[in-house]
């Protein structure tokens, strides 16, 4: 079993493994506990003096909204299962498949009264019973009636999420449509984006290169995608002004995608010959190895402008401070809240969270893209309305004690809950 450490600000591979480890743990824990229990059953003496009460009301039901591979077991714990002085040490769940031999599928702690059986087949029938274990005795429950798991096509318990998705996505699409029809849509100015042109102009005047850092995550992070869409617009400008762009990356896939993006920018600007693959270079996947290299590039090539757009972790401040020390104008943006303070402190302009995603729409100045920003605002409006109405209702409910108010609050709240 692998122990799991609590971390914050870990790198994505670390993050992924953090997500994986509980899973791995879960499986190992099943096998482990199985082997533990095997040793134990030998010493269980079923003819003990005081009989142990079994679990009651054992029920096997179809697990709702699955692919027909799960069942749900519920029971009332044994009356001997009480904290501190209770006799029950564990429960074991047994499964009988198609009237075959029973085999143990799980060992559970006392006080547990539900279990989800997984990895079943739609074409088999299943029966279950639960064994309550004490140190000197064991007690078997009744065997459930045979049941076959059923498949559902949609998770109706997520109806709220479906509606939310449709409303938010719908709003975005409606505004995109309106925009294509030629209606003028107003979008306010964003300081960091106004500065992009200025920053590129500065590099032209100074005759020094532009450094573009797309974060250290791979293409499976939307922040990287957002960064690359911004890169498209930057590359076009760069091609127009004929300045040098330098883009060291930490991922091979990002390297490939960035090359395509910059190349497209040069083609749009009508200067495809000026593009070379050398503009983008792969350094290393290692977080701090990459930082060491980028630091070196910054002090040696002294870029006039540095873009730090994408997913950043602990390295954010090292990069931003080094960039600042060489006198570069820096435009940063990330959707990782933990790194925003460092960018705010050390960079000239910072795109905060959402602004990073809005940036490419903004820079392209294309009506369709701008329309999508309007759609986003509808989502924000819903969020704000829900907060105001919900808070007012729930506060009034505690003040007046009115039943309907608390149930109304619960209703609003339930629209934002997604449970398994």
């Amino acid at each position: 079993m692998s122990p799991r450490r609590s971390t914050t600000g870990a790198r994505p591979p670390v993050l992924c493994s953090c997500l994986l480890i509980p899973l791995v743990f879960f499986f190992l824990f099943l096998t482990n506990s199985a082997s533990l229990a095997q040793g134990e059953t030998e010493v269980v003496d079923t003819t003990a003096t005081t009989p142990l009460a079994p679990v009651t009301s054992l029920l096997a039901q179809d697990f709702k909204y699955d692919d027909g591979d799960k069942l749900m077991l519920t029971w009332v714990p044994s009356i001997d299962d009480i904290p501190v002085t209770g006799r029950v040490t564990a429960y074991e769940v047994y499964q009988i498949c198609n009237n075959g031999e029973p085999h143990r599928i799980a060992e559970l702690l006392p006080e547990v009264s539900t279990f989800r059986v997984e990895e079943l087949h739609r074409d088999s029938s299943y029966q279950f019973y639960v064994l309550a274990l004490a140190e000197d005795a064991s007690a078997q429950s009744v065997v459930t009636a045979a049941i076959t798991p059923e498949q559902e096509w949609l998770k109706w318990n997520w109806l709220n999420l479906m509606v939310m998705t449709i409303v938010v996505c719908g709003a975005v699409m409606v505004f995109i449509k309106t925009a294509t029809k030629g209606r003028k849509l107003f979008v306010r100015k964003i300081a960091g984006l106004e500065a992009v042109d200025e920053a590129i102009g500065r590099a032209t005047e100074m005759g020094r290169p532009i450094l573009y850092i797309p974060g250290i995550n791979d293409m499976d992070d939307v922040q990287t995608l957002a960064s690359l869409t911004i890169l498209g617009h930057v590359a076009e400008q760069v091609a127009n002004y004929d300045i040098k762009i330098r883009m060291p990356v930490a991922r091979s896939l990002v390297m490939t995608a960035a090359r395509e993006t910059i190349k497209a920018g040069y083609q749009t600007a009508g200067r495809p010959d000026a593009y070379t693959d050398d503009m983008v270079s792969y350094i290393t996947d290692e977080q701090f190895g990459y930082v060491a290299a980028v630091n070196g590039i910054m002090v040696r090539e002294k870029p006039a402008t540095v873009f730090l757009l994408g997913a950043f972790f602990a390295e954010s401040l090292i990069l931003a401070e080094t960039g600042n020390s060489v006198g570069a104008i820096q435009i940063a943006g990330t959707a990782r809240p933990a790194q925003l303070p460092f960018f705010i402190a050390a960079c000239d302009f910072t795109l905060i969270g959402e602004e990073l995603f809005a940036a490419s729409a903004y820079l392209s100045d294309e009506p369709k893209a701008l329309g999508s920003l309007k759609g986003q605002d509808v989502g924000k409006g819903i969020a704000m309305a829900a907060i105001i109405i919900g808070v007012t209702l729930t506060t009034l409910a505690t003040l007046t004690g009115a039943e309907w108010m608390s149930s109304a609050t619960e209703l609003i709240r339930s629209w934002f809950v997604v449970t398994d």
């Binding site: 909204y65 090292i318 809005a358």
Partner: protein, 223 residues
């Protein structure tokens, strides 16, 4: 056609991914897509690793500035590659190279210490950034400065000494308590607004990508 096929791929894969969220029979697709991504990433590594080698060999042959260090990088890269893929120093072909052999020795004695040293550079940069950036330039910057200052003071003995004299009823205003309060209330409010915004921003960004409104990453037609 060259331009259409990628767009069709994006749009259909995007919708399948969303569908995998809502429909149990399609659920495994989400996992499959992640798996495909991992496999593609390995192939892409040929391009990345190849690029690294090419850049440094080029530097070496053309005797560009600092070409000597390119030898170091190349040697390090190749040694690690041979040690890992050849399982040098490991007991058998099945042994775990992250636990034994030359590969793990290099990892634990060179790679890991270098990583933590680089990470620790932050201590210096945190200080220099505070010195330069925490200035009361305008109202926003002043608010930032005050919040950071209280949290910092709260973690030093000075913070305790400064406000120890406060009467019992005012204990919330003692700097260490104030620091805890800032972390748990106003800090949370800001985080939430940012997170909600990001959530919606991603939705709109993803839709633009899936619908092909943003497609700079696909390059231009002439290929």
């Amino acid at each position: 056609m060259r331009r259409e096929i990628p767009l069709i791929i994006t749009i259909s894969v995007g919708f399948l991914a969303i569908l995998s969220f809502f429909s149990p029979p399609f659920e495994p697709l989400g996992e499959d897509f992640t798996l495909f991504f991992d496999i593609i990433a390995v192939f892409a590594f040929f391009l990345g690793g190849g690029n690294l080698m090419r850049v440094h060999i080029d530097k070496l042959i053309k005797r560009k500035k600092d070409w000597g260090f390119s030898i170091v990088t190349l040697v390090g890269f190749l040694v690690m590659l041979v040690a890992g893929l050849g399982k040098i120093g490991a007991e058998s072909i099945t042994s775990d190279i992250t636990r034994e052999g030359l590969f793990s020795t290099l990892y634990y004695n060179v790679h890991l210490p270098l990583g933590s040293t680089m990470y620790a550079l932050l201590a210096f940069f945190v200080a220099s950034a505070s010195y330069r950036a925490f200035r009361a330039k305008n109202r926003e910057a002043t608010v930032l400065l005050i919040a950071a200052f209280i949290i910092l003071l709260g973690s030093t003995p000075i913070g305790q000494m400064l406000t120890n004299w406060m009467p019992e009823g005012m204990s919330i205003l003692e700097i260490p308590n104030l620091a805890v309060w800032i972390m748990s209330s106003p800090n949370l409010a800001g985080q939430r607004a940012i997170m909600i915004g990001i959530g919606l921003g991603v939705v709109s960004m993803s839709l633009r990508l899936i619908l092909g409104i943003e497609r700079t990453y696909l390059g231009k037609d002439s290929g």
